[in-house]
């Protein structure tokens, strides 16, 4: 057996591998730069960049709040000197903006409902299937639209749903005249649901994975058919996931821009489209800023109400309601 020299043996002359020496030097440098007594603050130091990024956004909001208090002088195209609440009055008194806000909220509600309705069985089958082929196929199909992006997806829907598109061709085969499937409210909701489905499925899957299979088996041995088991066991136990997914889908839909712009064809504007128009078409920064702040408030209030009634679901990070 070869003799292994002890670590302290003067005969042992060796150099550590280069990679070890580099790592050791880095560690030493780090120890000097960030000594051990600083370790309680390490977490804070690491989230600083993210906090700065969000802080910048808050700064922007304050600036926007400031500009929302000036009206646009149509003669000079400059914002007025004096502070005024006129922009907010315009928004509140305008029937058009009232319709836009109602439409956005209603569409977001419908989108949440239909998305969860479709996502729950999708996620359930993806989680519960015993076939890895089925699971992988469902995952790939789910992720494909992510690579395409919202605008291209909306454009694809324009082609499919157009008067000479696949959908109308199919209707033509059964003798139905081409109908207008685009540029109306259902088209926008359809596009939103299609866009949100992957988000909802990805948020529901962990919640469903957390339900032990044996719990459902137990329900069935206790006399529940699959529908009863789904209603009394799966849905209540998946509630945190449903709320989390609903909040994400709802806020994304409420603030969406591309779907109403492309599939609504200008006739189905959401709040985001109205804001865009004020900033980039009429160049009325003040009115645009007022609309933007109203959207922030509206979204926060809706989310706040939902959380206070149902709890934050999976967004609560396991904290109690």
């Amino acid at each position: 057996m070869p003799e292994i020299p002890s670590k302290d043996d003067p005969r042992t002359t060796f150099r550590y591998p280069l990679r070890w020496r580099i790592m050791d030097a880095l560690n030493n440098g780090l120890d000097r730069f960030w000594p051990a007594r600083m370790s309680p603050y390490t977490g804070w130091a690491l989230i600083m960049p993210a906090l700065l990024l969000v802080g910048l956004l808050v700064l922007g909001l304050f600036e926007m709040a400031e500009s929302s208090l000036h009206t646009l002088d149509r003669a000079t195209f400059l914002p007025s000197e004096a502070y005024t609440l006129e922009n907010y009055q315009t928004v509140i008194e305008s029937a058009t903006y009232g319709r836009v806000v109602t439409r956005s909220v209603f569409a977001a509600g419908l989108t949440v409902f239909f998305t969860l309705l479709l996502a729950l069985p999708y996620a359930y089958i993806m989680v519960r299937t015993t076939s890895s082929v089925v699971r992988k196929t469902l995952l790939v199909v789910l992720f494909l639209p992510f690579f395409i992006g919202q605008v291209v997806r909306a454009y694809g829907l324009l082609i499919i749903l157009g008067t000479t598109g696949v959908a109308n061709n199919a209707l033509g085969l059964v003798g139905i005249e081409p109908i207008r499937l685009l540029f109306n409210f259902p088209a926008v909701v359809f596009g939103l649901v299609q866009y949100m489905l992957p988000f909802a499925v990805l948020m529901l899957a962990p919640a469903l994975t957390a339900i032990p299979r044996e719990t459902e088996t137990a329900a069935s041995s206790l006399g529940a058919n699959w529908l009863q088991s789904f209603r009394h066991v799966v849905i209540p136990m998946a509630k945190p996931g449903l709320i989390g997914a609903g909040l994400v889908v709802g806020t994304l839909a409420l603030t969406d821009f591309a779907m109403p712009a492309m599939l609504g064809g200008g006739s189905q504007d959401f709040i985001a489209n109205a804001i865009y128009d004020q900033f980039f078409r009429t160049a009325d920064q003040g009115l645009g800023a007022a609309l933007a702040l109203l959207l922030v408030v509206l979204g926060s209030v809706i989310v706040g109400v939902v959380i206070s009634i149902f709890g934050a679901g999976t967004l609560g990070m396991g904290g109690k309601k």
């Binding site: 044996e214 137990a218 069935s220 041995s221 206790l222 209540p236």
Partner: protein, 375 residues
């Protein structure tokens, strides 16, 4: 009181109605026979334990009875009716699961009420029945607790109440005690026995714990490799194992290989070892003998052994202190170095013998079982 009456009933009322009958049940998982041609009968009101190591097919057999899996061949009847076409929720079977599978979003009482609601019991009777069964499992007053507010033992009790509250034809226990610590496990074993006697419900329990099987059951099936090795009452199963697997799985047995003699004994070298043949084998074939650790007597000399059919000398090769007893491993040169594991109860002085000591071993003929090994 009720226990005694029920116990007497089970002893006197025979023959009884058959509650569960499995005939030639086979489960083929794509070429792997998880359960291979299993047939058994279980009388009404009896407590049967299916005992076996992991992978023996015992859980698969239980899941087929519950209806969670469909056997690839054979038939299962419950109370005389074939159940193969019935899904689990249409069978009258209560089951306690290994991980209990209680509903965390419900209280204890809501958990127990669940099967009553699903099975459309009269809503006005549900509350009373839930209370009655919570009392049965000694959880009266705990109905409003959430599941995560109950201890492990209390959760076990909720699971039992939930499985029994709708008075099923059959109670299935899928190793619900496996995860408990020893004290709680032994307490719950006696609870299962008490409740089963009180209600008289036919019960099938699955476990790998031989002690549990012997303690709780009226009847035991030992499974290995998908096959039923033996079905018998606990005492008979322990005393008269039908094959080497059962002899080795229950209790601690030592095995010796040899050749069958014409009169049904076994020859090792020049020595004829007297024993009891457990099955038929021809003279000259290879056989395997088994004897349990507590059936071997141990002493310093042959004389000190007293009356034994068979006496041998050996050398202690290991001693293991087990608390209430000492186990010795003894090597017997006359049996070509075969080792015997011997329990020695020695109230006065623990560790009477030491490694290297020469000791005398003795046993009676009826305690050494001789098997044909390829049975």
């Amino acid at each position: 009181m009720t226990n005694q009456i029920a116990a007497q009933n089970s002893a006197t009322q025979s023959p009884r109605e058959v509650a569960v009958r499995a005939s030639h049940v086979t489960m083929d998982f794509g070429g792997v026979l998880a359960v291979n041609d299993a047939s058994f009968e279980l009388e009404k009101g009896r407590f049967l334990t299916i005992l076996g190591p992991s992978g023996s097919g015992k859980t698969t057999l239980l899941r087929m009875i519950a209806g969670f899996q469909k056997q690839t061949a054979g038939e299962i009847t419950i109370n005389g009716k074939p159940v193969d076409a019935a899904p689990p929720h249409r069978r009258s079977i209560g089951m306690v699961f290994q991980k209990l599978a209680l509903f965390p979003h419900m209280t204890a009482a809501e958990n127990v009420a669940f099967p009553l609601k699903m099975r459309r019991f009269n809503p006005r009777q549900i509350a009373g029945r839930v209370d009655q069964f919570l009392d049965l499992v000694k959880l009266g007053g705990y109905g409003n607790r959430r599941i995560n507010e109950l201890s492990g033992g209390q959760q076990q009790r909720v699971a039992i109440a939930r499985a029994l509250v709708f008075e099923p034809d059959l109670l299935l226990l899928d190793e619900p005690l496996a995860a408990l610590d020893v004290k709680l496990r032994e307490e719950m074993q006696l609870e299962f026995r008490r409740i089963q006697h009180e209600l008289g419900v036919t019960t099938i329990n699955v476990t790998h714990d031989q002690r549990e099987a012997l303690v709780v059951s009226d009847n035991i099936i030992v499974m290995d490799g998908g096959r039923i090795q033996q079905q018998a009452e606990p005492v008979e199963l322990y005393r008269a194992p039908e094959n080497p697997f059962v002899a080795g799985f229950l209790g601690l047995s030592s095995f010796v290989e040899g050749t069958a003699t014409a009169d049904g004994n076994m020859q090792v070298g020049d020595l004829v070892v007297q024993g009891e043949p457990a099955d038929d084998f021809a003279a000259g074939t290879k056989v395997l003998a088994a004897i349990r650790a507590e059936q071997i007597r141990l002493a310093g000399t042959r004389e000190a052994l007293g009356n034994c059919d068979m006496k041998l000398e050996g050398r202690v090769s290991d001693t293991i202190f087990e608390g209430e007893r000492q186990m010795y491993v003894v090597e017997v040169g006359a049996l070509s170095g075969a080792t015997f594991r011997v329990y020695h109860h020695d109230p006065d002085s623990f560790g009477l013998f030491h490694v290297g000591d020469t000791v005398a071993l003795g046993w009676n003929r009826r305690d050494l079982k001789i098997f044909s090994p390829a049975a």
